[in-house]
Structure formats: C-alpha cells, structure tokens
C-alpha cells in the first residue's frame, strides 16, 4: 500500500513542536521528511525530559521520540559555509521546505525564500513563527509558552475566586499545525495544477486567536471580556468534573436537556433531592448550581470514574473520565483504534508514537520508522538523495559541514 505523499520531498528545517507537527502529518502519509539537525543547536525536544532511565542525551528523549516518528535526520552544521552548501543541495532536491525559526534566521543562513527561489523557482516554503514574518513584533522571540498569554487564553481558564490560569502546554504550537498543514497541502496541489510555488506565512499567535473566535465576537458585539467560570456552561447543569472514588479521580458530566436530566436522575437512583423544585429546570439548576454540584459529588464520590461514566452513558448522559496519561495509555477505546503505536527506538527501545486523529479508508497512515537519532541518516541522504561522492563527502566532512 503506498502512501498519499509517496514521492513528496520535504526539507525540514523546523524544530520544537510547531514545525515538526506539520511535517509529522506529511511523514505519516508517506512523504520523505528529512530533518536538518545539528548537535550545536539540538531540537528543544531533544533537550527535554523524560529521558530513558533519567539519563540525559540527545537521542534519549521520550518527548522527541513521541513526536518524530517517520522522519529522517541529516546532521548538518548550518553555521558552516560548507554546511549551507549541502543544505542548498537539499533544497534543490526538495518540493517543500518547512521552518519555524524566528524570522530572519533562515535569511542569515542564506536560506530565505528569495534564496530558495534562486535554487528552485517553484519551491513551496512554509514558515511558521510566533507572530508572523513581518510586522513590528515579528522579531519578538520566545518559546511557544508565552503565546498562550498573548493569544488570550488564561482569562477563560480558572475559578471565579482565583486568578486566571495558563494552558499547561505550548498550546499554540499544537493549534497552528492544523491551519498550516491544510494550507500547505492546498499549496502543493495548487502548484501541481499551475506550476506556481509560494511562501506561506503562519503566525502561531494568530492561529491561537482563531480558537477564541466566539469570545472575540462576544467582546466586539456585547462588550464582554473573558471570565473564569470554573467548569460551568450556560447551556447545562450539572456540568463539571466531579470527584470519584480513589486518588485524584474525576468524571466529567454534562446534562443539557430535560431528557438528559431525567436520565441523570435515574442513573443516580432517583434520590429525593432531585425532585426539589430548585432543580426542576435548567434555569433553576443554574440558579442553585453550587448546591447541585455538591449533591452530585456526594453521589459520585462513592463510585470509580469508570463506573460513573458507564452509568451515565447507559442513561444517555454525556460523561467521561478525566483521563490522565496512564488512563490514555490503558484506554480500551484508543487500543481498539490503534492510536498509540509502539515503535522500537534505537536508544530508547519500545516507545509509543503519537497517532493521527483521522483514519483514511483507502490510504491509511503508516508507522514506518521510529524517531531518528541525530544525524542517523546523514550517510543515506548524502549517497541516495544528494548523490555526494565519497571524495566530496570527505572534503565536506573535514570542512565541518556535517554534524
């Protein structure tokens, strides 16, 4: 079975998360993705815990391994003129170049869009950056974490009596690849039809704001800023995460309609409190929400999160375990879906790789290789792809081009 992107050649200069997730989509469906890496400036994820046996090492990181299956690694020293020469050979080979450095970095290496066009006039370059390629703050440099704040998420997370909270991950790094990849695939198809390449400019900041779209309009039209409302929803009650039996175990329950309320009451055994007028309608339940939540939790505390979920679902009520990482790995449904694929990493051994959230019926994603050690494919790339002779290779090696 051949992949959709078989034969698609991607020179991947990206690092950390925002760029590599784009190339992961392509790699999983058959593209040849060659990551250009250097031990002088290793990918941030190679420098991040968890490490195998808690011993740090650029090829021992589980985070990098989780995100980077199906990719090749070419070790190049881009701070070296000969290294740049090799990089340009790679561009000449490539259909697509992906990068997510601060704007200007690629230019400094002689690998900006204008430079790339001189090598390959119809090249498609995808540039993902914190705040975009141009503008007064284009040079504002940070990891993805501060963008959580800049995009405006914290005011929507937290309890009414406490401060706003951050999203616990570099969220915009994960939001932006959805938009970037859809545009990139459209661009590749467009070039196939017209012969025209382009440089796509994605601002992770802007993609974050898109995920707050309704809140933007709410302010523009109603003057309302974000506020911390815990887990409440204007459309349902009970609506929240309820403590269950065990250590830090919770189940989310969401009741919206009258029918669901009836189902909920039945699921908890129709205790007398559920017939009180203060809970008879959504409006009343919202008015008495604190009391309601307290009563629900007095019930849920006696059951495991799994039991709460199954009882609720049997009664037609939306409910789900608040799953920890351990729960995700053990999740019977994800197992059925084959979401986590265990690949055998060279230094780490068997470790799960993150999956794709969509299954294509005719051209499924394939797990072909575990994440690479840094520079693992330098020899493969220089012989099979760049056609660099042994003599030239030795010269370049001695000149410090390769890492």
């Amino acid at each position: 079975m051949s992949g959709v992107f078989d034969g698609l050649k991607v020179a991947d200069f990206s690092w950390a998360i925002a760029g590599p997730l784009v190339t992961r989509y392509l790699a999983d469906f058959g593209a040849t993705v060659i990551r250009v890496e250097s031990s002088q400036r290793p990918c941030l994820l190679r420098l991040s815990a968890p490490y195998k046996e808690r011993v740090a090492g650029i090829n021992r990181g589980g985070y990098f391994a989780f995100f980077n299956a199906n990719k090749y690694s070419l070790g190049l020293n881009l701070g070296n003129a000969k290294g740049i020469e090799v990089a340009k050979k790679l561009v000449a080979w490539a259909d697509v170049v992906v990068e997510n450095f601060s704007p200007g970095r690629m230019e400094a290496w002689g690998l900006g869009y204008e430079d790339l066009k001189r090598i390959k006039p119809d090249i498609i370059m995808l540039r993902s950056s914190n705040q975009g390629q141009f503008g007064p703050h284009a040079s504002y440099s940070s990891t993805g974490v501060p963008l959580i704040g800049l995009s405006g998420f914290p005011p929507f997370i937290g309890w009414p009596d406490r401060t706003p909270l951050p999203v616990p991950v570099a969220y915009t790094d994960i939001v932006s690849p959805r938009f970037a990849t859809a545009a990139l695939i459209a661009a590749i198809d467009y070039r196939r039809r017209t012969g025209e390449g382009q440089c796509i400019d994605v601002s992770q900041f802007e993609t974050g704001v898109h995920f707050l779209g309704p809140a933007v309009l709410d302010y523009v039209v109603n003057g309302r800023e974000g506020s911390q409302t815990g887990n409440a929803s204007p459309h349902g009650a009970p609506h929240g995460a309820y403590r269950c039996k065990g250590d830090d175990r919770w189940c989310a329950i969401a009741v919206f309609t009258d029918a669901e309320w009836d189902g909920f009451c039945k699921a908890i055994g129709n205790p007398p409190w559920t017939t009180a007028p203060i809970f008879s309608t959504l409006h009343n339940r919202k008015e008495n929400e604190d009391k309601l939540n307290q009563l629900v939790e007095e019930w849920s505390m006696n059951f495991t999160a799994e039991e709460v979920m199954t009882r609720m679902q049997s009664a037609g009520v939306a409910a789900g375990i608040v799953q920890s990482s351990a729960d995700l790995v053990a999740d019977p449904h994800l197992k059925h879906r084959g979401y986590f694929l265990k690949l055998n990493h060279e230094e780490i051994g068997p470790i799960s790789s993150l999956g794709q959230a969509f299954k294509l019926s005719k051209t499924p994603a394939e797990a072909r290789m575990p994440a690479p050690s840094l520079g693992k494919h330098t020899d493969y790339v220089r012989t099979e792809i760049l056609d660099i002779s042994d003599e030239e290779f030795v010269e370049l090696l001695q000149a410090g081009a390769f890492d």
């Binding site: 989509y25 420098l47 815990a49 195998k52 989780f66 440099s141 940070s142 974490v145 704040g149 405006g152 005011p155 401060t163 909270l165 951050p166 616990p168 991950v169 994960i174 959805r178 938009f179 970037a180 990849t181 859809a182 545009a183 459209a186 590749i188 467009y190 796509i200 900041f205 802007e206 704001v209 309704p214 933007v216 309009l217 709410d218 302010y219 109603n222 974000g226 459309h235 609506h239 919770w250 989310a252 969401a254 037609g316 789900g320 608040v322 990482s325 351990a326 995700l328 449904h333 879906r337 979401y339 986590f340 780490i348 470790i351 799960s352 794709q356 969509f358 299954k359 019926s361 051209t363």
Partner: protein, 411 residues
C-alpha cells in the same frame, strides 16, 4: 486555491471549523441544515444576548465563508436531492452519530457509487468504531477523555476545561487536514475515500509530553495551577505571573539556551534596584533545570515576581522583548483588537451583517498564502438563505418544485 471545489457541510458544532477552513482556502462550502435551522444555532454567546437562531455568535464565526441551504435528509425526497448535490460535490462533511448516515443510505459506500471522487469526512466524539463509539459527548467530556483536562487547573480543586469550547476546533482542524490529504490522493488516483475523525484523538496532541513521561518513568503529570509541570521532576517553575495591571506569561529556561536570557533579565531587574544577592549571584550558565531544587527556583523567582508587579503588561512586554527575554502579556480581547502586530498584518477584518445593521470585526487569515489572498467573502448564512440559488440555480428546480418541497418539509 480550492476555488472550483464544492463542499456539502452537514456538520454541527463538532465540525464547523473543517468546512470553514476549506471555505477559507477558496472552496464553495454549502452548509446543509434541517428545515428550521440546525440545533447548533442555539449555542451562545448571542448578538446582544438575544437567543435567536440567526444571532448566535458561535454560528457566525465558524460558518462564515459558507452559503446555506435547508434539507431534510430523513425524507426520501431529501435523500434524492442530497444525492443530486453529491454528484457535483467534492467533499461531504458530517458529524452525525456513527451509523446514522448509513441508515439513510447516505454513507460513504453509497455516496461513492454516485460520485467516485467524493471525499466523505465524518467527525464524531470517538470515531466510527470501538467500545465508545456510541458514547455521548460534549466539549467538557471530550476535553476529559482526550487528556488535556487532567493537566489543567489548580492542584487543590477539580481539573478544568477552557471555557471557550476547544475540542470541536481541534476535531475540525484535524478534519480539514484529513480531508485535504484525501483530496490530494484523489487528485492522483481519481478516487475519494472516507475520513474518520475522532475528537478524543484530536486532543491527544495537546497532552504534549505526558504520555512519554508515563511510559518512561511511570510519572503521571498533574495539574499545577500557574506553575509549569511535566518538564523536570525536581522542580516546577512559574508560568503565569501577576503584574501591575494584569498578568504575564514567562518561565525560566535553564542551560546555555536560557543563560543569556536570564542574565539580561537579572540586569534589567537590578537596574531598578530590585535584584537581591541571590539572583545576582546565580551562575546562569550552570543553572540546570533538571537538577535545581524547588527552593532555588522559588528564590530566583521572588525578585522576578516583585519586578513584574512593579510594571504594566505593556512595559514588561516591550522591555522584555527588546532585551531578547521571552515574556508575553495575557491579552484581553481589547488588547488583541489593539495589538499593533495584528493590526500591521491586517488580521482583523470587517464582516457586513446587513440584517443587524452593522459590520462586526472578525479574526481574519489563519495563514498568509500569497497566490490566493484570504478573504471573508460572506458572513455565515441565514436559515435557508441560498435555497433559491442552489436548488433553483444549480439543480435547476422550478419555482413550483421548490414550493412543493417546502410544503412537504423536504427543504
């Protein structure tokens, strides 16, 4: 770039973003709702808080760049019309419970008989198969089952979701990518296929390193409030800091990468007399986040915290970024609307809503694609707004036929 392609978008809130993204890329997206309007039109917030199906801001924002028709696909007449529409369509997007489209004779196998090229994208909470496939969901349940909720919140209280629903958007975003991959295959092979999207799975990427931490160390990463969990097992650094007029996001990064930044920050704090001996005496070159103690982290964070409290978001943002220190303010929506970077990039666009008598500001391009500049060509459709155009124009139905269909509640 996708102009000339047609999308039939039957999805509810679980899938709006997919059609929106394809529409933004130039496709002709037709929102197909049941007569009277889709129930998702009751999702707030609402224009001036009026809970009217033509005033849902949620509907507005994710259904712009789409036309709208009504069609009752549960009737034989409706199914016939739908099949006729599929003949000329390139994508179908739906988010009905698994099995529903099959029951109506409108699942991928049936539709591919009519149009070999059709790409059918189904978006559901847990996918088309599996033990949870028939489970009911909503945003909070998806956030819970997908793993992000467990990581979010204060340690002494319940885990939290983000109160602008995010799960639908991750699912919609992933669905757009999946649809494009299927379309790319179609361009090469001439055949479409079925794209089965699981909302639960689309959230798992947001758990970042949590699963590797569990697999390699047996460590379960938990919520830690304003601190940053899951990177070092010995200590947690602060992420969210109060300042004079709000909050900023900043976290200490160690090692060589962070040393320059931390030195610059220390100097800046010192220039205002707020650096204490401890932070001034810290050797940032040797500051290894993997081995420092929580006590050390808190001691260096103390003067930083005091410094931030002394300054506004704007002062910190400009001052920090000018010194190569990555700190960002926590933006209010007002801040976003005034943000000079967004304005310079013409991110904000005005969309006309003649029925409301005003233009509303919307977020604009999600990617700058020079060959086909982004535009919001139309606001979200009113109920049945393009029935005449699509049924009369495209399908060539006469006035009488249209009236009959309306009478029999097919459209």
């Amino acid at each position: 770039m996708l102009s000339g392609l047609r999308v039939l978008d039957l999805a509810d809130e679980k899938g709006f973003l997919c059609g929106r993204m394809l529409g933004d890329l130039g496709a002709d997206v037709i929102k197909v709702e049941k007569p009277g309007g889709d129930p998702s039109r009751h999702i707030g917030p609402f224009y001036h808080d009026i809970p009217d199906p033509e005033k849902s801001l949620y509907w507005f924002v994710f259904n712009s760049n789409k036309r709208g028709i009504t069609l009752n696909i549960e009737t034989a007449g409706g199914q016939e019309i739908f099949k006729r529409l599929v003949e000329k369509a390139d994508f179908v997007i739906e988010s009905f419970p698994p099995g529903y489209m099959k029951k109506l004779g409108l699942d991928y196998p049936a539709l591919s008989q009519i149009n070999r090229k059709i790409v059918v994208t189904s978006i559901t909470p847990f996918g088309q198969t599996g033990p949870y496939r028939d489970y009911k969901s909503s945003d909070i349940v998806s956030m819970a089952m997908g793993g992000l909720m467990y990581l979010t919140g204060e340690p002494d209280r319940a885990p939290l979701r983000i109160n602008v629903p995010q799960s639908y958007l991750h699912a919609g975003g992933d669905a757009a990518v999946g649809s494009m991959i299927a379309y790319y295959h179609r361009q090469q092979s001439g055949e479409g296929q079925h794209v089965d999207v699981s909302m639960q799975e689309s959230l798992i990427w947001t758990t970042a390193s949590a699963v590797p931490f569990f697999e390699l160390h047996g460590t379960i990463i938990k919520r830690t409030g304003a601190l940053r969990a899951g990177h070092y097992e010995n200590a947690m650094e602060r992420q969210l800091w109060p300042c004079k007029d709000g909050f900023v996001i900043f976290n200490i990064v160690g090692g060589v990468f962070g040393a320059k930044i931390n030195r610059a920050l220390t100097e800046w704090i010192d220039s205002e007399g707020l650096a204490d001996d401890f932070i001034k005496g810290t050797d940032w070159q040797k500051f290894d986040m993997a081995t420092v103690t929580q006590d050390t982290i808190e001691r260096v964070e103390k003067p930083i915290g005091r410094f931030f409290l002394n300054h506004t978001k704007a002062e910190i943002y400009e001052g920090a970024m000018g010194r190569g220190i990555g700190v960002c303010p926590v933006s209010t929506i007002e801040d976003l609307l005034q943000n000079p970077q967004l304005m310079a990039r013409e991110f904000w666009v005005e969309v006309a809503h003649p029925e409301l008598g005003e233009n509303i500001t919307y977020p604009g391009a999600s990617a700058i694609t020079p060959v086909a500049p982004f535009k919001i060509r139309r606001r979200a459709p009113l109920i049945g707004e393009h029935n005449q155009e699509v049924y009369g124009g495209d399908l060539g139905l006469t006035e009488t036929e249209l009236n009959n269909l309306k009478q029999s509640k097919v459209i």
